[in-house]
Symmetry: C2
Subunit: 435 residues, 2 copies
């Protein structure tokens, strides 16, 4: 890879997600050369992917060109690349566009969908971790209704209109709520010759409550919101298989469906060379010390979802979401600056700012460290926070306009099948590494 | 196809472009059953496709769900289908989702790219008639620069940064201008480690002026605008071949390029059964009388690009653009209503409202029937007219916001490689019929 050699130490960052980008920004105008690698040329604002899947937003409002973030910083380099192997001994990474030496390496590869080893679910289900995946889901949802129109067999038609979402974390809950709103506001008008009442939205959760990472009051309230919207919530139900037609569970419950959306788990997106058993903990996350250093490897750091850092308050690592990634990125940036200035690094502490999830219009739940609230005000807080964290002024304006329009008109206009989704692509899409 | 049989005559419209949609809207609330078929579930505002290709707009701003247009009309049916054959004797069409009887059939299939029989150009060039094709071009343009970064061979690098557009009609001119603006405003900042001055934009035209369908003063002015932006305009040069590396011409001029964009011609998108030599004229358009009736076939009409209607003022048919399509659609709608009311149909006359093209910021040319103007005012007129003809309030607002942002910031934020473009897809994409 032809990156010019300079006298400055070279920091290579793998991944332009929340962690990688906030680190990169911190390193601007330092005596460092920064090389950022990603397999996409854009940063994805993952919390709003479900709105792309449900026709509320187009990709450009939640994606941002990485080069645009870096363009004001001299000595910064971006390369569109897939990192294949890390060779810690040689301080080198191997990619599909050549190899590169580093002085400091930061793994910020994030996480990918975890199917817990079930190849059949992996081959037949939809996931929603990247923009192409979300666009595939958008196409499939719409195609299902176009298909349903053509079926005279009631079972086939119902299977096409039955959506099973496995995993009631924020992604599953938000997607279920958005589908319920489409069912109510859009589909009956778009498909007057279909009986949309037959459409089912099933949200299946292995544990005893939805949003298990949030407070119990938020879980309870979110479940009430979901049920009010017509989502069928199944708790304490573990899905065992899906063959493309039938979802089986540990109980005698089963679902006939053409669409299973798997939001039941993620795991670290590891890279060969730094994926030995000693380095990893549960969920394929890389164990790091309080300085985000990969234990036992010199000059290699991990931040964000992929990093497992134990703190007193977080004995099982930090939650795999945007806030820890952003904070770790910033903190590691400060530490690397300290290092180049010959100072000692400071240990990282996560400041839990709370968490939130939205179920539908006027319906959200917010857990702050000191208090919790639900409903209309929570929904406005949710919108404000998400607009605030979006990168780019234009993105904020476009998202805001779309939200206002969708709110007033009960509409979602990006219900476009731009690229029809073909089942065979599923397996390939699932293979793609989530760097 | 399970469309309910009613006592009303059934009008089947093939194609939801400008012609098909304006016809459908006219037939609202009549004693008719209307079935609209299209292979996409959205209407495409083709005049702005070049802005999708160059990262200025996302598809949702120039696409509009067809079902949303029809949703307020009872007795209207939309089906996502590819029409394969028309059987005029049996008054039946055969599609990929089954067959359908009609009382009146309207062919509004539009046009597709015409390669004039050159298989090598067809297999190796990019086209821009649909949204997926425009997104492919957007990806390829960005991929070329990412690739160019990796090349140490100067010839290879220059070929990646050389864009050859064949055909200087409105599409070719507008695309060339947009590329020139990207070259000026965006690429040098995005790719500081590439010498963007080496980027070339070549616009090749077989005849002796650009925009040959417009007035000579507009042609001259557009050429001046293009040259001011740094586009190399080649007139009187006929391209003979492109093998994926070299564009050859009838002169000794040739271009080494990784990207040929073919906007040199269109032809009617015919359908089997109504494509015999007797029915077609030059460019595979279907000959119709002044009532848009296909000559010699009962109850079959053709409107828009596919229709060739001779008028005194238009002995070679109407221009293949939005205005004749919209006017013919409306007029045929009125005629069909007259027919069902037992009245006589009226002949169609095209009201030429003029034509226009934009080259870049503050640079457009407008030909009105009575006067012509160019420059800043023309550019504002161009923008106003295009906003006005876009379907949907939200689309207009989103396009407007993006234009204002792009104008003030000299920016285009949708420079995202959402789905990397692979060369092998070219041939397949070209195969897809433009219904």
């Amino acid at each position: 890879m032809n990156i010019p050699l300079t006298s400055h130490p070279r920091v290579v960052i793998i991944g332009g997600g929340f962690a990688g980008l906030s680190l990169a920004k911190k390193l601007a105008r330092q005596e460092l050369q920064v090389v950022l690698l990603d397999r996409h040329n854009y940063h994805t604002f993952q919390p709003l992917l479900y709105q792309v899947s449900t026709g509320g937003l187009e990709p450009d409002s939640i994606a941002y060109p990485i080069r645009k973030v870096l363009k004001d910083f001299p000595n910064f380099f971006f390369r569109l690349a897939n990192v294949e192997t890390i060779e810690p001994e040689a301080k080198t990474i191997l990619t599909d566009i050549g190899s590169l030496k580093y002085d400091h390496l930061v793994i910020a590869t994030g996480s990918k969908t975890n199917f817990f080893g079930n190849a059949s679910i992996k081959a037949n289900s939809m996931v929603m971790k990247t923009i192409p995946q979300s666009l595939n889901l958008r196409s499939l949802i719409l195609q299902n209704f176009e298909q349903a129109l053509l079926k005279s067999d009631l079972n086939e038609r119902n299977a096409l209109m039955n959506f099973v979402i496995v995993g009631a974390g924020p992604t599953g809950v938000e997607l279920a709520g958005a589908l319920a709103e489409i069912k109510k506001g859009i589909l009956p008008k778009d498909y007057p010759d279909l009986d949309i009442r037959q459409m089912q939205i099933n949200l299946v959760q292995a544990s005893d409550r939805v949003l298990p990472a949030m407070s119990e009051v938020s879980s309870r309230k979110a479940e009430i919101f979901l049920e009010r919207l017509g989502v069928d919530v199944w708790k304490d139900v573990r899905v065992t298989n899906y063959d493309g037609e039938t979802v089986t569970t540990e109980t005698d419950l089963c679902f006939k469906t053409a669409t299973l959306i798997w939001t039941a788990g993620v795991e670290g997106a590891t890279i060969k060379g730094v994926d030995s058993k000693e380095l990893l903990v549960k969920g394929n996350r890389i164990r790091v010390d309080r300085f985000n250093q990969v234990e036992g490897l010199e000059n290699i750091y991990a931040i964000g979802d992929i990093a497992w850092m134990e703190e007193e308050k977080f004995p099982h690592g930090h939650p795999m979401m945007a806030q820890p990634a952003i904070q770790q990125g910033k903190h590691l940036g400060e530490n690397l600056i300290r290092l180049t200035n010959g100072k000692k690094m400071k240990p990282f502490s996560y400041h839990d700012k709370g968490s939130m999830a939205t179920v539908g219009r006027n319906k959200a739940v917010v857990d702050l460290p000191r208090f919790r609230f639900q409903g209309v005000f929570a929904w406005f807080v949710w919108m404000f926070v998400h607009l605030f964290f979006l990168i780019g002024f234009r993105n904020r304006v476009v998202v805001f306009i779309n939200w206002v329009y969708n709110y007033i008109r009960f509409d979602r206009e990006a219900r476009l099948i731009i690229r029809p989704y073909k089942k065979k692509e599923v397996a390939e899409a699932a293979e793609v590494k989530n760097v």
